[in-house]
Amino acid sequence: MKGISATAWGVYSVWHRHAKVYQKTWLFNSLPPLSEPLIYLVSFGYGLTPLVGEVSYEGQTVSYLKFIAPGMIAIGVLSQSFFEGAYGSFIRLSFQKTWQAFLTAPLSFTEVFLGDWLWASTKGTLAGLITGIVAVLWGLYSAWYLILSIPLIVLGSLLFGAMGLLTAGTVRTIDQMNAPIFLIILPMFTLCGTYFPRDTLPPLLGKVATFLPLSSLADLLRWPLGLPQFWPLELLWLLVCTGVFAWLAGRKIYPQLFK
């Protein structure tokens, strides 16, 4: 990549195109971020709470539903931003050639990349907020805590959006998308302390899970229940991962558009 050239309008214009497409089918598009947390909270709430009851987290005992609510916010952020970045961007790049069309207009690669990334992050942020609102209405998370958590939700969305774009730039066929999904996303989904405290995992597995970025996001979103001991490092880890994934994604996608 040679040079970075961007205007706010260019980035907005790309984001605007994606938002207009989303707007056309907003009813169907808003279904997953709304139904996903509801289904998880209802099924885990009614299904597992009688079995689990309460869990111990950061030296205090909390109800299982209160424990998983921030995890559900993190899951919403992960799934919407990653899958938009991965599938959405891959389809626009390799099938619809939307990226190539953008680049026949006065838009630079940086603007198109940032516009796509911001769109993936927007979807993750919306999903995190919708899940958070469900948790607030359920009485599992305070409205103020949710408002104060917005920067974390945005950061998580940027991170997983960048991870999605890296996937879109790396895979060559849509079937290859299964590799990062089953090797990275699914383990994160299940092992990162979203459904149970990580200290119940075998020590080695627990250590590996700690370095998966969803762990840091879930830990930080649980700040109302108590901040983890190394929270500044976890925050830094999220920032570093975001930067690295975004840089790698740009490096992977650029050669597909400029020869």
């Binding site: 040679k2 040079g3 970075i4 050239s5 961007a6 205007t7 309008w9 260019g10 214009s13 605007h16 195109r17 207009k20 497409v21 056309k24 619809q96 050639k97 939307t98 190539q100 069309a101 953008f102 680049l103 026949t104 207009a105 006065p106 838009l107 630079s108 603007e111 558009l257 400029f258 020869k259």
Partner: protein
């Protein structure tokens, strides 16, 4: 680098390609291409598939980075100001990259947004362009409901959204039926009348001959000749050709040498050029040789290519 907002210029722009080269590893795909595209001119890049036409166009608008050389649009270098230059350029790529998520009208409105044309101005411009390319009745249709010809017209309309000074048309009529090609040619001719500079790549010699004011003949990335279509034809092959089948090659060679002209194998037959000064004499000698097939016709660009390269354009 933070770019400025939409630039404005009313001066007609000249596009100059300076010694363009593109190498992939050791392989040179484009080798030392130079040309100037003036306002109100249609310049054709004519060559067979793989001649380097699309790579050259890519270098002109910034999607291909030249290994050497540069492109100048007015006072700007395209490689340095790639995105900004595209405020003045309309691009019709080989592939239809229309937005399948939008209707015909929306494709134009949301593309206009990239040029900071929004709201009513975008709607008005989109409406004007749909009328111009004859797509008003399709305004609300989805892209996948359009035929190939209608899609190409919409891509052209999209390329004109910002009233460009220069339009690049990369193989714009490939795969279209004859009627759709004629429609497209009419639209391209209008652009020239309006003072727009048009760069057209094609491997259809009839398209090049009919539309282009000047031609660059490309083969294996090199310009092998250039000029107006009429100049190229007369200079290279003369005015008339004969397609002949069923005579011995030795006889053709002898007749061609005597007349000071040339011949080439052409499928199962031969092509022989009639000399400009005295075509009738050779024609009568060929007719007297009792061939199975004998056709006399005007020379064309296909013949030029055959003469220069020994290969057909198709």
């Amino acid at each position: 680098m933070i770019r400025a907002a939409s630039p404005i210029t009313l001066e007609p722009l000249v596009l100059v390609a300076h010694d363009l080269w593109k190498n992939y590893g050791d392989r040179a795909v484009v080798s030392g291409v130079n040309f100037t595209l003036n306002p109100g001119e249609i310049l054709g890049l004519l060559g067979p598939n793989g001649a380097g036409k699309t790579t050259t166009v890519g270098m002109l608008y910034g999607s291909v980075v030249p290994s050497r050389g540069f492109v100048q649009l007015g006072q700007q270098q395209v490689q340095l100001q790639g995105a900004q230059s595209r405020y003045f350029i309309g691009i019709v790529t080989q592939e239809d990259n229309l937005d399948p998520d939008f209707s015909v009208l929306e494709n134009l409105i949301y593309f206009a947004h990239h040029y900071r044309i929004t709201g009513n101005a975008a709607r008005l411009r989109a409406g004007e362009l749909l009328a111009r390319v004859g797509l008003q009745e399709y305004a609300k249709q989805r892209i996948d409901e359009l035929s190939g010809g209608l899609k190409r017209r919409l891509v052209l309309a999209r390329a004109l959204i910002n009233r460009p000074h220069i339009v690049f048309l990369d193989e714009p009529t490939t795969g279209l039926d004859p009627d759709a090609r004629q429609d497209f040619w009419r639209l391209v001719s209008q652009l020239r009348q309006e003072g727009c500079g048009v760069l057209l790549t094609t491997h259809y010699m009839d398209e090049a001959q009919r539309l282009c004011d000047r031609l660059l003949l490309l083969q294996q990335g090199k310009v092998i000749d250039q000029g107006t279509p009429a100049e190229l034809i007369e200079r290279t092959v003369g005015r008339e050709m004969v397609e002949i089948e069923g005579v011995a090659e030795s006889l053709l060679q002898q007749l061609a040498n005597q007349a000071g002209t040339w011949y080439r194998p052409f499928g199962n037959s031969y092509l022989i050029a009639l000399p400009i000064n005295n075509p009738q004499s050779l024609w009568e000698q060929l007719a007297a040789s009792e061939p199975r097939t004998l056709i006399r016709r005007r020379a064309n660009l296909e013949d030029v290519f055959l003469r220069l390269t020994g290969a057909s354009l198709a």
